[in-house]
Amino acid sequence: MLTELERKRLSLRVLLETAQELSGILQPRKIMETFLLTAMGPIGAMRGVAVLARPAGCEGMVLSRGLPPAEAEALEQRLPDICDAYFPYRDLDGDFPSSKIRVIRRDQAGSDSLLPRGMDILLCFNVDESHCGLLALGPLLSADGTGAGGELDADSSTLLHSLLHLLIGALRGALAVSNIRQLSVDLGRKNDRLTEALATSQAAQRGLDRRVHQLSAINELAAEMAHVHDVQGILDGFLLTVLGAFSVNCGMVLVLDRLAHSVDLALRGAPDTGLSGYAAADVLVYKAFLASGARSVAPLTVDSVENPAVALAGCGLPFEGVCAMYFSLDRDVQGVLVLGETISGEALESEDVQMVQAQVGTLMGYVLGARHLATITALNEGLKSQNEELTRTVNELTEARQTIDLLERAGERVRSFLHAEGLRSKRFSWLDCGVILVAAMLLGFLFNLASPNGVPLVPEHLKRPPSQTVTAQKARELQQSDGALIVDARPQAFFDQRRVRGAVNLTPALFDMVYLMRFAQVPLSTPLIVYGGNISRRWDEEVATKLTAREHERVLVLEDGLSSWEARGYPVEP
C-alpha cells in the first residue's frame, strides 16, 4: 500500500509530467491525444474518450483510446448528438461558466447510448467562450488489475480535476495560439487585400487627377473659346489645350471646307509639310474617313481612326499619329485631329481616347458657331449696305420729290406770272414808259458819276470865266509875227488825223506831264493859241485855263477852232 505521502508525490509527478508534456504542444488534437494518454494511466482507466467541440456549430473532434476502431469511428460520427446531450449551454448565447468542471453521473446523462458502456466517469468542462470539452473514462482497473474496479476515490478525483485544469489551460493556450495564427493569417490576407485596394485606389486617384486636369483644361478652353470667333483661332486654342491636357508632344487639327475650297490648319510640335494646301488636306481627310468607322458623311459626328500610324501613312503628316479622330460638320465641311506620342511615351488609355473624342465633339460646336457667326456677320454687312443704299435712295427720292414740288410751285408761279404779265402787257401804259425812262436816266446818272471819264453835269467852261479868243486871221498873224505857239487841246487821235501845221498836242488829261516835258522851257511871254473842242467837251477852254494858271501871259482860244483855220486856207497837216 502506498502511503499517503507517496500518493501525493505520485500525483504531483503526474501533474508535472502532464504539464511538461502539454507545455510544448500547440495543436488542440495533439493536446487531447497526449492528455488522454497521460490521464488514463494514473487514473487507471482502461478506455477513454475526449471530446472538444464548439456547441454553437456542432463541430469539433472526438478522440478515443482503448476502443475498437469501428466503435471509435462511430463515436466520431455522433459528435452532434454528443453536443446536444452534453453541452446544453449553446442556447445561452455563449455564456459558458468559465473553467467549470461538471461531473456527470452516467445515469444522469440524457442519452446513455451515445458513449460506450463502462465509461462511468464523465466530466464536462468549458475551455473558453465557444469551446466545451467532455472527458469520459472507464472502466477503472481494480486494485488487483482485473478491471471493473468501481468508482474513483477522492485522490484520483482530485488528480483528475487537476489534470483537467491542465488540459483546459493547454487547450486555451493552443486555441489562443490558433486564434492568433488565424487572426494573423486573416490580417495578412486583409493586409494583402488592403494593399491591392490601395494600389487600385491610387491608380483610380491618378486617373481621377488626370481627368480633373483634363476637365479643368477643357473648362478653361470653354472660357477661352467664348471670346474667339474665327475658326483658325478656335483650332489653335483647342489644339494647345488638348496637347497640354493629354501631355502630348505634337498634334494637328484641320478643317476642310470643300465648298469654299479652303483649309484651316493648326499644327504644334512639328513643321508644316504642306497640309495647309487644299489637295494634301483633302487626301488626309479622305484617308481618315476610310479608316474610321463612318460609312457616310453624317453631320456632327466624330469617329475614331483605327491604327492611325498605318491608315494615315503617306499623307504628309510631319509626325507619327498615335490617336486620330475624323469629324464631320456637314456634307461640305470635314476635319481631322491627329495626336502624336505622349511626353511619357505611354499610350493613351481608352478613357483618354473617349475624352478626346468628346472634346472633338465640343470643338465641332465651336467651329460651327464661328462659321454661323461669320455667315450672320456677312449677312448683316449685306443688310447694312442694302439698308444704307435704301436710305440713300429714299433720301434722294425725298429730295427729288421736294425738288419736284419746288419746281412745280415755281412753274406755277412762273405760269401765273407770265399769265399776269401777258394780261398786263395788253394794258401797256405811258406810265410804264415814264418809269422805264426815269430808271434809265437814273442808271445813266449813277454810271456817269462813278466813271472817271464821266461828263460833268454842268460843263466846266460854263463855270469858268470865258477865255480870251482870237480869230483865225489874228492867230495866223501872231504865229508869223510874234512866234505864237499853236496848242491842239484835242485827244491825240484827233491830233494825229489833222492839225494846224506846227501845232503841239497838249490835252487836259496829260497836261501835267506834257507841260513839264514840252512847255516848261517856253517863255511865259510867248503867245499861246489853243484850239480844239466840240459841243460837250471844251478841251481848248480847259487847257487855256491851265496855261493861264501857269502864269503864261497871253493865252488865246481860237474862235471856231480848226474849222475856221482851215476855212481861211491856212496850212494844216498832215
Partner: protein, 107 residues
C-alpha cells in the same frame, strides 16, 4: 465751279510770282537824256506809284506793267502814256513831245 476758281487763283498767283521779278527790276529812278531841259527825273515806286519831276515841279501818276516790255502810266486826270522798257532805260511815247528817253539811275 470751285475747281475753276481755284485754278484761276493758282494761275493768278503763279503769274504774280512770275511778274514779281521784272517789277522789282523796273522800280527805281530814271533820268532824262535831254540836255535842253532842267534835270528831269522819272520815279517808279514798288507800290505802283510814281512821279515825273522837272526842276521843282512834280507830276504824280500810277503805273503798271501790261505785256512784255510795256509799261503804262496813268495820270490823275485820266490820261494814259505808254512806255517801252529796254535794258537800263524807258522810252516814253509822249503825245505832243515825241519819244522821251529816260535812263535808269546808277546804271
Amino acid at each position: 465751279m470751285r475747281r475753276m476758281l481755284l485754278g484761276a487763283l493758282a494761275s493768278g498767283l503763279l503769274l504774280l510770282g512770275a511778274c514779281r521779278g521784272p517789277v522789282e527790276d523796273i522800280v527805281g529812278d530814271y533820268e532824262s537824256e535831254r540836255v535842253d531841259l532842267s534835270p528831269a527825273k522819272l520815279t517808279l515806286r514798288s507800290d505802283g506809284g510814281g512821279a515825273l519831276t522837272v526842276g521843282a515841279e512834280e507830276a504824280p501818276f500810277r503805273w503798271e506793267v501790261r505785256e512784255e516790255g510795256r509799261i503804262v502810266l496813268h495820270t490823275r486826270q485820266g490820261g494814259v502814256i505808254s512806255a517801252l522798257r529796254r535794258p537800263g532805260l524807258l522810252e516814253l511815247d509822249m503825245p505832243g513831245s515825241g519819244k522821251q528817253i529816260f535812263r535808269k539811275a546808277g546804271k
